[in-house]
């Protein structure tokens, strides 16, 4: 009986999030506890760190989407979520303004998997060439980020919220690498993996590196021009805006 009343109460709160989250945290005394529970879910699912953040902590910068295009990323233009497609900055800002709190998490990746010319070349050539096994392992980490985001969203939805999740990198290389194209981008049939596919934080214009540094994580730039031994670790980050 008590549980049913609680469920009913949350449902009404969750619905209100979609129509303007104004003073949601004051209206929802359960929210803080639930965010803490979601932190636990993220950690148990494989996140290395997770933090509750305010939506005001999401850093938006028009230069981030520009960086997907200049120089051109191997995923740009090939996935419905990636620039020049995907959510423009203004729309992302509008979405974020509907939320007050979210779960920001990261998955730490060994530096050998995300740095060095061989890895960089393999990513650019979609797995062709050397180091294919390492690339598949890196793909598994990206998939983990998408899975954590999907899991947190599902849990929040069960409580009646309308969460919005974001992953890392392009979902095309993780979920549809062996498909000829992103179906959602080129056909009206939509995404092949709507349960897991999410835009990356960066594809929506969020400055993920700065956000990670702001919550105290040690974030290092990684890429093809740096040796793995020069970087302590790589970080893949995701975000689920909850309420």
């Amino acid at each position: 009986m008590k549980k049913a009343a609680e469920r009913k109460k949350t449902k009404s709160v969750g619905l209100s999030a979609g129509t303007g989250a104004g003073s949601l945290s004051q209206e929802d005394p359960l929210l803080e506890g639930r965010l803490q529970e979601l932190l636990g879910v993220a950690m148990r699912a494989g996140a290395s760190d997770a933090k509750v953040i305010s939506s005001a902590d999401v850093v938006l910068d028009p230069r981030v989407r520009l960086k997907c295009l200049i120089p051109r990323c191997s995923a740009a233009g090939t996935c419905v979520h990636c620039p020049p497609d995907g959510l423009p900055l203004q729309e992302t800002a509008a979405v974020i303004s509907r939320y007050r709190k979210g779960i920001f998490f990261r998955v730490v990746v060994e530096s050998e998997l995300v740095s060095g010319p061989v890895v960089s070349e393999a990513i650019a050539r979609k797995g062709a060439g050397q180091n294919r096994a390492a690339l598949m392992l890196l793909g598994a980490y990206y998939l983990l980020v998408l899975q954590i985001a999907a899991l947190l969203e599902r849990r929040a939805r069960q409580w009646g919220y309308e969460p919005s999740g974001y992953g890392a990198g392009t979902c095309r290389d993780v979920l549809c690498l062996f498909q000829p194209h992103c179906r959602a981008l080129l056909t009206p049939r939509g995404c092949r993996h709507p349960d897991l596919s999410r835009p990356s934080m960066e594809s929506c214009g969020m400055d993920v590196y700065t956000m990670g540094a702001n919550v105290g994580w040690d974030i290092y730039p990684v890429g093809g021009s740096v040796r793995p031994e020069d970087v302590p670790k790589g970080s893949l980050m995701g975000l689920v805006l909850v309420a």
Binding site: L66, I70, P84, A124, T210, G223
Partner: protein
């Protein structure tokens, strides 16, 4: 290579100036003829007409980045407007002729990439470099078309292809003049600014 941890706060202007000056030195060491730090607030964008990649000079091959980037110019300018300092540099072409021109452009694209990369690993993760000319002439001159212009297809040279300074609406003549303080932008026959590259640091 030393890799800097990403900073939580925006780099203060003094430090940014020092790092940009160091980038100028690197540009000169790596073959640039001139290099200078410029404040981005002074940049003026020309009103560029979108050509749709089709209406170009006779014989010219359009690409995703040239004669105008095939993505919203407004967001491009909004993004570039966020930077505080940039480094402009010029390479000297060695000889003339199509092969020499291509070699010179290749050198320019390589140098822009290296300088952008240097900024990135110093913790300026949003550093962004622009080159000169058409990336298609450098990387895809033997291709029948620029593959990235086909919806859903990736660029054949990711992480290397980039737009030119002029394609983004910046006036190369004005930037070239900034390399020679005290002299205005050249006009007429002397207007050719040479092989200019530019890296927006932060």
């Amino acid at each position: 290579m030393e890799v800097a941890r990403i900073r939580a706060t925006r780099t203060d202007l003094e430090r940014l100036k020092k790092d940009a000056e160091a980038l100028c030195r690197q540009a000169l060491e790596e073959g640039a003829k001139d290099a200078r730090v410029i404040p981005c607030r002074d940049l003026r964008f020309r009103k560029a007409k979108r050509t749709g990649g089709g209406r170009t000079q006779a014989g010219a091959k359009p690409s995703l980045h040239w004669p105008s980037p095939a993505y919203p110019l407004d967001s491009l300018r909004e993004g570039l407007g966020r930077y505080r300092l940039a480094v402009v540099f010029r390479l000297e072409a060695e000889g003339s002729g199509p092969e020499k021109d291509k070699e010179a452009l290749e050198r320019l694209y390589r140098l822009v990439s290296r300088l952008e990369s240097a900024c990135f690993y110093k913790g300026y993760h949003l550093a962004l470099g622009l080159a000169s000319g058409n990336c298609r002439d450098v990387f895809c001159s033997s291709e029948r078309r620029c593959q990235a212009m086909i919806k859903g297809k990736p660029c054949l040279h990711p992480n290397k292809a980039r737009p030119s300074i002029e394609a983004c609406g910046l006036d190369p003549a004005v930037l070239a003049a900034s390399l020679e303080p005290g002299r205005g932008a050249k006009k007429g026959r002397q207007a050719s600014p040479g092989l200019l590259g530019m890296v927006f640091v932060d």
